[in-house]
Amino acid sequence: VPGRLNELVVVFVSIVLQSQPFVLLGVFASALAQRYLSAERLARWLPSGRFSVVLLACGFGFVAPVCDCGVIPLARRFRAKGLPLYATTAFILAAPVVNPIVLASTAVAFQADWTIVGLRMAMTFSVAMTVGLLASSLMPEAPPALVATPATASEGLEEPPRPLAAIAAHAAAEYVDIALFIVLGALFTAATQTFVPRGDLIALGGSRIGSVAALMPLATLLSICSEADAFVARAFAATFSTGALLAFMTIGQIVDLRNGLLLFRTLPGRLVALIVVVAYGLIFVEALAVNRVLLGP
């Protein structure tokens, strides 16, 4: 296989392979939620008040530590069970980073630099909270996501199925449904990595503002898994500012090519546009602020 084509194929297949365990985790979590979490129970558990609901959704990654590949199936199921759209959105944005596994991998990559770990979590949290609260105000009547109306495990069944068979069937259906978007996202990411030159982008790394402006689109382009991106960010540490590294690790899990199609499939287009604008704007400003505080004026 010629060089460029080999590169395209290897990157494409590797993204698909690497995402599969995490997608499976997500679809089984979704299947369990489908079977055992009723809409009534979810409604009882949710606090009153939009702020509290968004806050809870942002921190739910500590209970359900799913990465960016697995968060969508679980979020779709929560949405189908009646979780408000703005809270579902906050969960999708926060959970891939605000969870113990990703924070631990960040700590390992940055040799227990807890400032980096804390700032990464805080920046992600801030975007998820902001988008969640804005969505709750700007589009309270937003149409539901493209998921089923709230369904209980017994709907459509002539007799209660065996639990394991029912969970496996749900998981298989969900897996095949989102596989299309995972594969398309992987293909798009691989093609971009292969054919879009990034040398000039990285050459901007010298200045504080330029380094942030360069690494943010690079993160979107590379679409690296949330459990691996800290190691890649550390490889940039000699060239780019701390704020740029944090921006890389934050925006890459919120706006990335690989999961972009899945996000459009799950959330209304207006909401996805809001996510992109708020995430890019807020993270850029926060990264510059981090540079100013940590590196001086």
Binding site: T152, A169, L187, R198, V232
Partner: protein
């Protein structure tokens, strides 16, 4: 489309995914896609996908044995609607796209990423440097193990920095040429990955040779020489003074799996 056909389609995709994972392990090709540290997780994924596929086959067979497909469903109708049973064409396109990486993974013999995967990043920006603050006057510090590849070399450099100068070293990688390098110099490239090839980043060493060697870009070579330091634009570059260069085949495992 009937429930039975849907279940068979899902079973086909799930079993094909499991088969790809099995094939890559059996052919020793998995490490060209995924870091070996993830092998247990990947193998478990293959088993789960295979089991899910087998359960879908069983479900399809149960559907065939019954007159009414609703009786064999263990998926709520709302979910079935969610998953688009209605469109045969849509389903065909979906399956075709999802099968694409499976077919490619089965058919293609993967090679390591080459210099083209750098995406236009400049060689001079990629050259490995000694960490700032390394001792100005190098003090010999013997490595715990022979520096017989870039992995052990990186571990040693992290420990002693510029104190490594003068140590014998053997490294394997791909040749990179650049007009920005001086006469008698070229760069040696290896990729290091964390999870998969998509997150691979280059590790690039400056190589200095007494005479211009007959090597081509992307050619795999093994170099024996001595570690040195070259100052350029204020940076101290990790440099290999080559004594012997020989052409080698692409290693069975061409990537480094280190937190570089």
């Amino acid at each position: 489309m009937s429930e039975r056909v849907t279940a068979l389609g899902r079973a086909g995709l799930l079993l094909a995914s499991a088969a790809l994972i099995a094939k890559l392990f059996a052919a020793g090709q998995m490490m060209k896609y995924i870091a070996p540290a993830l092998d247990p997780l990947t193998a478990l994924t293959g088993l789960v996908l295979g089991a899910m596929g087998a359960m879908e086959v069983r479900r399809a067979l149960r559907c065939r044995s019954r007159r009414h497909s609703a009786g064999c469903s263990s998926v709520p109708r709302a979910l079935e609607h969610d998953h688009g049973v209605e469109g045969t064409l849509e389903r065909g396109v979906t399956y075709g796209v999802v099968l694409l990486p499976l077919v490619l993974g089965m058919a293609v013999a993967p090679q390591a990423l080459g210099t083209s995967a750098l995406g236009g990043e400049r060689v001079t920006r990629l050259l490995l440097t000694f960490a700032p603050g390394s001792p100005a006057t190098p003090r010999p510090s013997a490595p715990d193990e022979p520096l017989n590849d870039i992995g052990p070399l990186l571990a040693y450099l992290r420990r002693v920095g510029e104190g490594s100068v003068g140590q014998p070293v053997r490294v394997t990688g791909m040749v990179m040429r650049s007009d920005a390098l001086e006469a008698g110099e070229f760069a040696l490239l290896r990729y290091a990955m964390v999870h998969c090839v998509a997150d691979a980043r280059p590790v690039v060493l400056l190589v200095v040779t007494p005479a211009s060697p007959d090597v081509q870009p992307d050619q795999w070579i093994e170099i024996e020489g001595e570690l040195a330091s070259r100052e350029r634009d204020g940076d101290h570059l990790v440099t290999v003074l080559a004594r012997r260069i020989k052409s080698v085949e692409e290693p069975r495992n061409p990537y480094l799996f280190v937190a570089y």
